[in-house]
Amino acid sequence: MSSVRVVVLALLLAAEPNVPASEAHLVAGAEAFRAESYEKALVEFRVAEALGSTEASWYAAASLLKLGRAEDAVEAFVLAERSNRAAADALLEVYRGQACYLAQLYLCADRWFESAASRAGPRLAPQLKTLRAEIRDALQPAQLDAAIDRRLARAAELQATRPALALAYAEEAAGLAGRSTSRHRQTEAATLAARLAAPPRGSQ
């Protein structure tokens, strides 16, 4: 989170006495994030989230990434996107790509790096380009089938308890299957991803 953003949030908070309670925690979280106190940041973002801030969900996900909990971060980003798709910016997309990359969800990472690159500045763009090249190298056709099996197995393992994270694995498997010459388990992966992407019963 940039220091400009923290300052803007703090100024808004000072100028408007009737701001929602969640904003104070959002600012506290942003300050902790900037000070690299990621555990404190995560807690403040979670409290802001509990008080109604959907924006805070994105920053909580970024905090999880900084805490080295890549899978948790991937899951949190999926949930944040569901609650407020518009809150993402280029930096959060980079964080999301990093979380995917660390969880070995390479197509997911590539997608978010690509999206961020279109809006990135001159310092970030070359780094994203390098990361995307590494991803291309990692996706060797000969190893795709085994990679699909691993991701589908993980998706199956998670689908009952952590469907949002399972969705990320199932989408990755479906994407890899689309690149596999034998279309290895493509229908199975696509079906699982579609089922997990459907809104939970009762959410409408």
Partner: protein, 475 residues
């Protein structure tokens, strides 16, 4: 001075509870921090959870929930073994492994081996889990628990014999007894040579399917006792080939014409994968009623199942080449084919809900006795410890191929014959109770009802069965 010292100590120790009386904040906000702390703790994010509890205590110093949470966190951080055990209990083997990585070298490595072995087993890493569990088994205090999980691995690998022995050892441990007993029963059925003996007492309200409103002089209710023997030989365990031999005897209390003696032999092959199985089998079955040869049946069977996530998909096909030995029934001889497709939902907590559709095509020697039957099937089973409860219902719509000269439309001239069309209803419920690794008792109630366009065929039958069975692996 004291307050200053306490604050200094609190700053030095991240687990120190802030001293009370610093002034309360918003208790609702404190409650939110506690919820966040609980949530992060359950995810294994102990540092964030500690931050949340401390934030809660700074707003509500008297919050018992926040104090309890903080104390639990600090215990876990001080004792990574406990943290690993907590994570396993929360169903998070990955986090357990992270905690256990810091637990070695503190004088309790056998316990670490046990917990890491369990976590590896839960993650499907059997090859890594086995040496860890074997190491834990060398500690008498941990032996039973380690044996239990080694048994689970053996069962997963199809080595029922070894699984059975390990579950026997595990059954000595308090708390594992129920699970070990049920798994031992499964393992007993996975041995190289398995014997099973079953005895049953039956009461049937309509043993000869007397039509509705028929005179009471026709055979009606009757009881029987039955005995079933089964032997199964699997030289190489499962997967692999097998030979099954069965004997069946049933003695009616009053209608001796229905006394049954039967025998069957089957040769098959069962393939078993991590998420599916496939069985192919040929069987010959011979039955005699009242001492006279009644039915000879050559059967070819192919069936399989596939587990994907919470769903178990099943398919089964059988072709029966049947020969009725009695002259009066010989026209019913022919080929009867049965196909069933089903899907079972396994939502956990021991439940299995199955829905399927079955079809039968019976090509008898004469067309009026040939029929097509099809209809849905639903089954619900719940198993917990030694208890299994189940209920199954099915409907079959049966249409015969042509008109039957035995059923003439009344007063028709020239005679017009009816083609038989039946709707058949089946319902069964049962309760099975395991008594130790080898014995089980079961109570079953069955209902069968036929509604036909020919009133003489309408009938209802209730069957009540009490049975006891012994199943054991002898090799």
């Amino acid at each position: 001075m004291t307050a200053a010292l306490l604050l200094l100590l609190a700053a030095a120790d991240p687990c120190a509870v802030p001293p009370p009386g610093r002034g309360a904040g918003d208790p609702r906000e404190a409650a939110i921090y506690v919820r966040v702390g609980d949530s992060e703790r359950s995810r294994g994010n102990l540092g964030a959870a500690r931050e949340a509890y401390l934030a809660a205590l700074s707003r509500a110093p008297d919050s018992a929930e926040a104090r309890r949470g903080l104390e639990a966190i600090c215990r876990s951080e001080a004792d990574p073994l406990q943290a690993g055990a907590d994570a396993l209990e929360d169903g998070d083997p990955q986090t357990a492994l992270q905690s256990l990585a810091n637990a070695r070298g503190r004088g309790n490595d056998r316990a670490v081996d046990l917990l890491e072995g369990i976590a590896r087993y839960q993650l499907g890493q059997d090859a890594t889990a086995i040496p860890l569990l074997e190491s834990a088994r060398s500690d008498p205090a941990l032996g039973e628990s380690a044996s239990f999980f080694l048994g689970l691995i053996a069962l997963r690998r199809g080595d029922g014999d070894r699984a059975s022995r390990l579950f026997d050892q595990a059954g000595r441990a308090m708390g594992l007894e129920d699970a070990a007993r049920q798994l031992a029963r499964m393992a007993q059925q996975e041995g190289h040579v398995v014997l099973s003996v079953g005895a049953e007492l039956v009461y049937d309200t309509n043993v000869a399917l007397r039509p509705d409103g028929a005179p009471l002089t026709l055979p009606g209710p009757d009881g029987s006792v039955g005995l079933t023997l089964m032997g199964l030989v699997r030289p190489w365990g499962t997967p692999g080939p097998y030979l099954r031999v069965e004997g069946q005897f049933s003695k009616q209390f009053t209608i001796s014409e229905l006394d049954l003696i039967g025998g069957a032999a089957a040769l098959g092959w069962r393939l078993l994968g991590p998420s599916g199985s496939l069985t192919g089998e040929y069987a010959y079955n011979y039955q005699a009623l009242d001492g006279r040869g009644y039915l000879a049946d050559h059967r070819v069977f192919l069936g399989g199942s596939l587990l994907t996530g919470m769903f178990l998909w099943g398919a089964a096909y059988a072709a029966h080449f049947e020969t009725y030995r009695w002259e009066a029934l010989s026209d019913q001889s022919g080929v009867r084919q049965v196909l069933e497709l089903d899907a079972a939902l396994l939502p956990g907590a021991g439940f299995r809900l199955t829905a399927g559709y079955a079809g039968t095509w019976d090509a008898a020697r004469v067309d009026p006795l040939s029929y097509l039957e099809h209809g849905p099937i639903v089954e619900l089973v719940w198993a917990r410890g030694p208890v299994t409860v189940g209920a199954r219902g099915a409907i079959g719509w049966r249409t015969y191929r042509t008109e039957d000269p035995n059923y003439q439309v009344p007063d028709s001239d020239p005679p017009v014959y009816l083609r038989r069309e039946d709707t058949r209803y089946f319902a069964t419920t049962w309760l099975d109770l395991g008594l130790g690794a080898q014995w089980s008792v079961r109570g079953t109630v069955r209902l069968f009802r036929t509604n036909s366009n020919i009133a003489d065929i309408n009938a209802t039958e209730w069957v009540f069965i009490g049975s006891v069975a012994w199943t054991g692996s002898v090799l």
